[in-house]
């Protein structure tokens, strides 16, 4: 049945697929996850702060990001970031932003909305007695957040955060709309160049499947371990 297929195309393009494509995908995933977590935690703190206006702004932002299709946001940022850069730096013309930077900014902004909800749930899962004990010892609000509440919230939410990162790993493939050679983009390029669409897309699917499944398995193991420690 596979006699018409040429699976050797995969072997020939392996270095390009992994050294260029997968490296890009993993770098984008890792940086977006870290950036999204930091920004998302800031959003969560805004929403939980006593300042109504801050909370409202963060809430609006999260709702906005969560109601837009990711592809649209990717496009939107790609065309908008140069103008925002121009406005921020006061340059005379839109600044040039590489596709990587643009997509990184997009994913950080987008993922922050999801991470913020996860962190918000994590912070709310910490009993009120913990910040009270921290305050009673003389820690300020920010010290109490930094040393007591956030570390626990992060630890409690780690499995969910990692699961969301696996989703992010798959979502990064959407940067193909900017013609960026991420893993899927690289596979797609080879596929079209050599006319081997079926082989390459099958292979790409298999790679995403294997990596995501392994990662999910790792998260389940981790979850079991955390459950024991608690």
């Amino acid at each position: 049945m596979f006699s018409n297929f040429d699976f050797d195309v995969i072997r020939r393009s392996l270095p390009y697929l992994f050294l260029d494509g997968m490296t890009f995908t993993l770098t984008l995933t890792a940086l977006s996850a870290v950036g999204g977590l930091v920004f998302g935690t800031a959003l969560a703190l805004m929403r939980l702060s006593g300042f109504k206006l801050l909370g409202r702004i963060a809430g609006l932002y999260v709702d906005l990001m969560r109601s837009l299709p990711l592809v649209l946001v990717i496009f939107w940022f790609y065309f908008l970031v140069p103008y925002i850069g121009q406005w921020l730096t006061g340059a005379s013309r839109p600044i040039r932003v590489g596709a990587f930077t643009s997509s990184l900014v997009t994913f950080i902004m987008f993922e922050a909305a999801y991470f913020s909800e996860i962190m918000r749930a994590g912070i709310q899962s910490i009993s009120k007695g913990q910040p009270a004990a921290a305050s009673a010892l003389g820690l300020t609000y920010s010290q109490s957040m930094r040393y007591i509440v956030l570390p626990q919230a992060f630890r409690n939410m780690l499995p969910v955060l990692l699961t969301q990162t696996i989703v992010l790993f798959q979502d990064t493939s959407l940067v193909y709309v900017l013609s960026i050679p991420d893993f899927l983009g690289a596979a797609s390029k080879v596929a079209q160049r050599d006319g081997r669409l079926v082989e390459m897309y099958l292979f790409a699917a298999a790679v995403y499947f294997v990596i995501s499944s392994l990662a999910s398995y790792g998260v389940r193991r981790l979850q079991a371990r955390i459950a024991i420690v608690r």
């Binding site: 009270a132 004990a133 009673a136 010892l137």
Partner: protein, 243 residues
């Protein structure tokens, strides 16, 4: 040391939890606060270090007004130790780190200094061997002793205990009370919300009895146990002492 005068507190517009509470605790004095649940005793003790806000009246702690918006609350709280009903150790930190964190971050002690102090206090509560464990690995009684050590590590001028033995299994209560009795005998100023009348008899100077948000009785220990003036306190005492 602690001056509580005419404190009124409401939850929401109508529910009054503290009604015109006035009392004071002198340096070196041990005062036990008792009363039925819902009488406002925990709320009152939490007002002392401003963990709970109140709407009227004032509390002065070592000359500093607690409910003054200009008061540096973290700094003030650092000088008063507090022990909670549910221990509230930090579960993600080892025991010794529970003792060191605030010393370093709040008092600015060096790690070595904080460690030395922490180890000394762990020894005092008899838990040196557990220094590197996590709170969840200790029994309730041990956790509460760590919590007391954690508060003492800040060299407090007074200690507040909010039902320190209520969440403990009966056989663990005495190990915690022993630490508190020692502390009282050393002359620590203490405000203790508890139902442990044995502790009150042993070391308290005064007993305050609260009911429905009011201080019903505020008497020297012997007067309180001998002949409480209010009927409500008499009833309460006969109930908890009869078994």
């Amino acid at each position: 040391m602690i001056e509580i005068s005419h404190v009124n507190k409401w939850y929401g517009p109508t529910f009054q939890v503290l009604k015109d509470c006035t009392t004071s605790i002198a340096k070196g004095e041990v005062v036990v606060v008792c009363g039925p649940s819902g009488s406002g005793k925990s709320t009152l003790i939490k007002c002392v270090n401003a963990l709970e806000p109140f709407q009227e009246g004032q509390i002065v702690l070592d000359g500093i007004k607690v409910n003054d918006p200009k008061t540096d609350l973290p700094k003030l709280r650092a000088r008063v130790g507090m022990v909670f009903q549910h221990f509230e150790l930090f579960p993600h930190l080892r025991i010794i780190d529970n003792l060191c964190l605030a010393q370093e971050k709040v008092l600015g002690r060096s790690h070595a200094e904080a460690m030395a102090k922490g180890e000394k206090l762990l020894k005092r509560v008899g838990l040196t061997v557990h220094a590197n464990k996590y709170p969840a690995e200790l029994s309730g009684g041990q956790q509460q002793r760590v919590a007391i050590a954690r508060a003492l590590a800040m060299d407090p001028i007074a200690m507040l205990f909010d039902e320190p033995t209520s969440a403990l299994d009966p056989e663990m209560i005495s190990e915690v009370l022993d630490v508190m009795v020692d502390l009282a005998r050393e002359g620590m100023t203490m405000m203790v919300v508890t139902h442990e009348m044995g502790f009150a008899r042993k070391v308290a100077h005064r007993v305050i009895f609260m009911d429905t948000g009011e201080i019903v009785e505020d008497a020297q220990k012997d007067d309180f146990f001998g002949s409480p003036r209010s009927e409500r306190a008499q009833q309460f005492l006969s109930k908890i002492l009869s078994h």
